[in-house]
């Protein structure tokens, strides 16, 4: 009895099989591709933010080091090495900030 009623309801609700709606598929596909682009852009943005933040922190740290290592505290050997090291660090970080985002699609 229940099976009979289930079959009647199933028949009532049944719809003939239809061909895929290509317009709808295309609409979903466009939104998926747009979503993929947004996610990639967000990832690039976060990467750039992280690299630039690190670069900025590095520059601050380099200047802090320069300030701490005043010539009075340093021997003549260190005096030549420390500024060169700090300058290299600044240059390296500048490359990091300027070149990495470009590679990530800036």
């Amino acid at each position: 009895m229940t099976e009979d009623m289930d079959a009647r309801i199933a028949e009532f609700l049944a719809e003939p099989p239809a061909a895929p709606d290509e317009a709808f598929v295309e609409r979903v596909n466009r939104s998926v591709l747009a979503e993929r682009k947004i996610v990639a852009a967000q990832a690039a943005l976060w990467r750039r933010f992280a690299v630039e933040s690190l670069g900025s922190l590095g520059i601050v740290a380099a200047f802090y080091l320069l300030w701490r290592m005043s010539p009075d505290d340093l021997s003549i050997d260190q005096l030549t090495v420390a500024p060169v090291l700090a300058a290299s660090m600044v240059l390296f970080l500048w490359f990091g900030v300027q070149l990495k985002p470009a590679a990530a699609g800036k």
């Binding site: 290509e22 709808f24 979903v28 998926v32």
Partner: protein, 169 residues
């Protein structure tokens, strides 16, 4: 089923073409389910459901069918949209359930019969009778215990049977 799993894995790794094939295979069932649940907004809901499926592609483990997994997302999407519609309409003081969409006669009959059911009864009936899901599949899709699902299906069966009897008289 195996093809769905392979395509789902490809989609999870970012293959949009594989996901498009999954959409092509399952869009009719998802849209039919949502049309009978939500009326006019079904296509937008279906699009949102598929987009959510794309975002969550990595979470499909293949323990059930891909269609059931999609149905679960569609059902969740429907509930979320109803909640937000209701909240918005309550703020504006004019909440009323959405009217059935204008459609060919037979669809009106189906919509009329389904309109006597609550949302959960309607969804359970559509899944178990319309889409041929087992009780446990439907319970998983609707995220409710199997016993509750069986009670809901029994209520839906009685209401639809009464509708069919009335239509035959």
């Amino acid at each position: 089923m195996d093809e769905d799993l392979a395509l789902a894995r490809a989609a999870a790794s970012g293959d949009a073409a594989a996901f498009a094939r999954l959409v092509r295979t399952h869009e009719a069932a998802i849209r039919r389910f949502l049309t009978r649940l939500a009326g006019h907004s079904a296509d937008d809901l279906a699009q949102e459901a598929f987009l959510r499926a794309w975002r969550l592609a990595g979470t499909f483990k293949g323990s059930g069918s891909y269609k059931s997994w999609l149905m679960g997302i569609a059902w969740t999407q429907f509930l979320a949209s109803r909640r937000s519609d209701k909240r918005r309409a309550e703020r504006e003081g004019q909440w009323k359930p959405e009217a059935a969409p204008p459609s060919p006669d037979r669809r009106i009959d189906i919509q009329r019969a389904l309109s006597v059911l609550g949302e959960r009864e309607r969804a359970a009936a559509l899944l178990c009778f319309g889409e041929g899901c087992s009780h446990s599949e439907a319970a998983a899709i609707m995220d409710i215990p199997l016993g509750s699902l069986k009670s809901i299906v029994a209520r839906a069966r009685s209401a639809l049977a009464a509708q069919l009897e009335t239509a035959n008289d």
